[in-house]
Symmetry: C2
Subunit: 188 residues, 2 copies
């Protein structure tokens, strides 16, 4: 069982166990997508708390330093997954989880995945361009190898472009349907 400092009222063992499991699971999920474990745990702590939590609350709950929590909160805020909220009668900053998962998905896809995909495609295009530019000066043997490189690089570009089409399609259709009612996607 957890040795965390639980926010007020969490006396039931089953609630603690579920809270633990969710935070561990979201921590792993965050790592899986290349983010930090603490980001997932912070999001989970906020998601499962009916009221906003302060930096101090979160640091105490997760037993992490305030500096660590603060850094990770800022990244979550920039991603649009955590929002700062104003709490009447307090000077401290409080945070709450964004629960519009559709918006989170759009943020993550458009900010990170699309940008990374575009960067990867650029590198591939530059490589092909570099080869094409220097081919006229190559020996026959190197020319053959260069043509082989271009073919192989082109076949990777096709796969990246496919990923781009899927992400773009999701982004374009965002908000036009209820995520919970999607039955299938049709590839055209």
């Amino acid at each position: 069982m957890s040795d965390r400092d639980w926010p007020g009222g969490l006396s039931e063992e089953n609630l603690k166990a579920v809270n633990d499991n969710m935070l561990d699971g979201l921590g792993k999920l965050a790592e899986y997508f290349g983010y930090s474990k603490v980001m997932g745990q912070l999001y989970g702590a906020l998601l499962l708390n009916p009221t906003p939590l302060s930096l101090d609350d979160l640091a105490a709950f997760l037993r992490k330093s305030k500096a660590n929590v603060s850094t990770n909160l800022r990244i979550l805020e920039n991603m649009g997954t955590v929002r700062e909220v104003w709490v009447r009668g307090s000077r401290r900053k409080f945070y709450t989880a964004e629960t519009d998962f559709w918006r989170i998905l759009i943020n993550v896809l458009s900010n990170r995945e699309m940008r990374d995909l575009e960067r990867a495609l650029q590198v591939l295009e530059q490589s092909v361009e570099q080869l094409r530019r220097t081919m006229p000066q190559m020996s026959e043997e190197n020319l053959k190898l260069a043509q082989f490189y271009v073919e192989r690089i082109d076949s990777i570009r096709v796969l990246f472009r496919f990923a781009q089409v899927i992400l773009n399609s999701i982004l374009q259709q965002a908000g036009k349907f209820d995520v919970s009612e999607v039955q299938r996607v049709r590839i055209e």
Copy 2:
């Protein structure tokens, strides 16, 4: 410029530079998806070589230990991204890159992503189940919190289910179209 031992014939600086960039890029891509950098580099080395390479060739080229290369090759083989090939007149094992990217995508999605998604959904369902089972014994305050947990966990389940629908749709339509000609996906 690289200090790698280049396979025979790679004398042209531009080819070396492109080879370097591709291996670095694929190494980063592999890390991005939670695999090891060496896996991406190995795949790149095989992808950009017109002939199969042996374990010794790959270890020398990447300046990694044979044990390291061997371990990562085995994972790539199990994923279906690298194939062992027989080379006439040699007793050594040789390897070549799978270039059917559609098959690679299906392998990765069906083996890893789908399994991880199913596991995550199971954890979420078990958590809800655990809460529902123990709700009758809870105090009024804890009951309210448990109901809040169930709501929040359900909203995450919707997002995971959406991801599952998309991956399932791609897998079901696999091979029915040319990846290079996909124009869009329609969400239904």
